[in-house]
């Protein structure tokens, strides 16, 4: 058994391609998702048309600009030319104060602000408008302080678990899931398919080693590697991207191990149905990577999918693992909140192991 593991490590470490896949991919993906693909809005250029320029509008403007979400654009469109600045794409939002703002507020108890956002990027527009309203509301509260008023309703919104709405919180669980899934399932299926293709599997099967020992010897190194990978990703996201681990780290690692075992059994299953390395690779790519990205709720919310896809997403193992990772890392929840997902993944692992063993036996006949 020891010899088996040593041999497998030779295979991996002597093949530059598998080394790149194993260790390059996690680092690159985490950094890409963490830095490049950000959905947060910071320093959005905003143009302000201030028709009154009194102490109230100036106070609101400085409050907006000091929030960190906006920077003042040097483009100041004239009335009626607002669309033009959007067309150039240099401004994401335009705020218009009506004339005599402070005076109207004093006298009529109301004054108008117009917020116009570039919704060709709907997510950003949405965020910007809600930031703006929140800041103006905030100012309103301050302004009203000390005045006697009939009734006011204060809305206090709080973004639980991720108050800063950092996108890292969304990507890291997804990236961990994708990588563990791909690396373990793809690498194991390819390495077993290679033994089949090269004819070495035959020699191993004729030896006194039991099939179960052969398979275990083949997959154990990948358990170690995938686990190392999970650690690398976690360390990177903790130290480089500032991703917290609010719950138990031990539990997170244990759940990762369970997911790795599941992915491995899936990899073994793929190798039993494919007869070449290429086929194993294609199957892992198409059967695993795309659904993992698209249907696991990693990027697109499952609730928004059409019903058939929602039902289909239930059989995607990553879907459940992402929930587990989010619950532990971001919400800091304990095991009693994730036992259901854990059970589902464990069930899938058992299912694929049984299926592979049966397939394996049939092939031997």
């Amino acid at each position: 058994m020891k010899g088996f593991i040593i041999k497998e490590f030779y295979h991996i470490f002597r093949d530059i391609r598998s080394m790149v896949v194993l260790f390059g991919m996690p680092v690159i993906q985490v950094l890409l998702f963490g830095f490049a693909l950000s959905t947060e809005v910071k320093n959005a250029p905003v143009a302000i048309i201030d028709h009154s320029n009194d102490q109230v509008t100036r106070a609101i403007t400085s409050k907006l600009l000091s929030s960190g979400f906006f920077i003042l654009s040097d483009q100041v469109p004239g009335e009626g030319h607002i669309e033009e600045v959007f067309r150039h794409g240099k401004v994401k939002e335009v705020i218009v104060f009506e004339s005599d703002f402070a005076a109207k507020l004093e006298k009529d108890r109301q004054a108008g602000i117009q917020v116009i956002a570039d919704a060709s990027d709907p997510n950003t527009a949405n965020l910007l408008v809600s930031y703006t309203s929140a800041i103006i509301n905030d100012y309103q509260q301050e302004y009203l302080k000390g005045m006697s008023l009939p009734v006011t309703v204060n809305t206090q919104s709080q973004m639980m678990y991720n108050p800063a709405l950092k996108s890292v919180f969304m990507f890291v669980p997804g990236v961990i899931t994708i990588l563990l899934m791909l690396i373990t399932a793809m690498m194991t299926s390819i390495s077993i398919a290679r033994e089949n293709e090269m004819g070495t599997m035959e020699i191993l099967l004729v030896s006194p080693m039991r099939p179960i020992q052969i398979i275990a010897g083949k997959v154990l190194p990948y358990v170690l590697l995938a686990f190392t990978n999970a650690l690398i990703i976690l360390l990177l996201s903790y130290f480089v991207l500032g991703m917290p681990v609010k719950g138990s780290l031990i539990m997170l690692l244990a759940e990762s191990l369970l997911f790795i075992v599941m992915a491995l059994s899936l990899g073994i299953f793929i190798s039993t149905v494919s007869n070449s390395q290429q086929m194993a690779m294609m199957l892992s790519m198409f059967a695993l990577m795309l659904p993992t990205i698209l249907l696991s709720g990693f990027i697109f919310p499952i609730e928004n999918m059409p019903l058939p896809l929602q039902i289909f997403s239930n059989i995607m193992p990553p879907r459940w693992f992402i929930v587990i990772v989010k619950s532990i890392m971001i919400k800091g929840l304990g095991f009693r909140y994730i036992w259901k997902e854990t059970l589902i993944i464990a069930g899938m692992a058992v299912f694929f192991i049984v299926l592979s063993i049966r397939k394996f036996k049939i092939r031997l006949e």
Binding site: K2, G3, F4, I6, K7, Y10, H11, R14, D15, M198, G199, T200, E202, I203, L204, L205, V206, S207, P208, M209, L364, E365
Partner: protein, 239 residues
Amino acid sequence: MKIIEVENLVKKFGSFVANDHLTFSVDEGEIYGFLGANGAGKTTAMKILCGLSSPTSGKVMVAGYDVYHQTEMIKKRIGYMSQRFSLFEDLTVWENFQFFGGIYGLPAAKIRERTTELLGRLGLGGEKNRILGSLPLGWKQKLAFSVAIIHNPSIVFLDEPTGGVDPITRRQFWEIIYETANQGITVFVTTHYMDEAEYCRRVSIMADGKIVALDTPANLKAKYNAANIEEVFLKIARN
């Protein structure tokens, strides 16, 4: 002593009969040639003898063990080399021997001793640290054969061991086979090269799942009035 005894071996896949009442035996230390056209049922029979597959019916004993219940014991006593060259290309010669010695459960000291001995016999002791993939095919095949007998099996099964090898290497390969047989290891070999069949002590020829001829090459040539085994083979195939 008989090292392989087969009586009325039948193997069916559904309604297809791959092995139809095979009966033959192989003596200890013998070189036994197992011939037949593609699809005649050679590989199926060989898989059964190696414990990879079980027979539908019939009695099959290998190295004194029963293939129905004692495949674990059989696997310890046999060596196997397949038609596809099958050592690990990205490991060195030495690492390949270590690995295969290990899966047969040999102790580390024994593996080192056998590796040095076998490499010495091939005259490849100086190549032990080379990556296998960089060696010529003929060398690889000799190495694969040495790996198949690293655990001193009672029988070694060779499935078309000389496919794609030049005539000189084939000749050298057969010299090694002879040497191995002289040490008491039984050699059970399938081949497409009919001249190689002449090197065997006895050969059987299979057609359509049955053994249609079994004797020494000399007796077969006499019986079929042929100049060589190839002619015997063709005469049988035509009927």
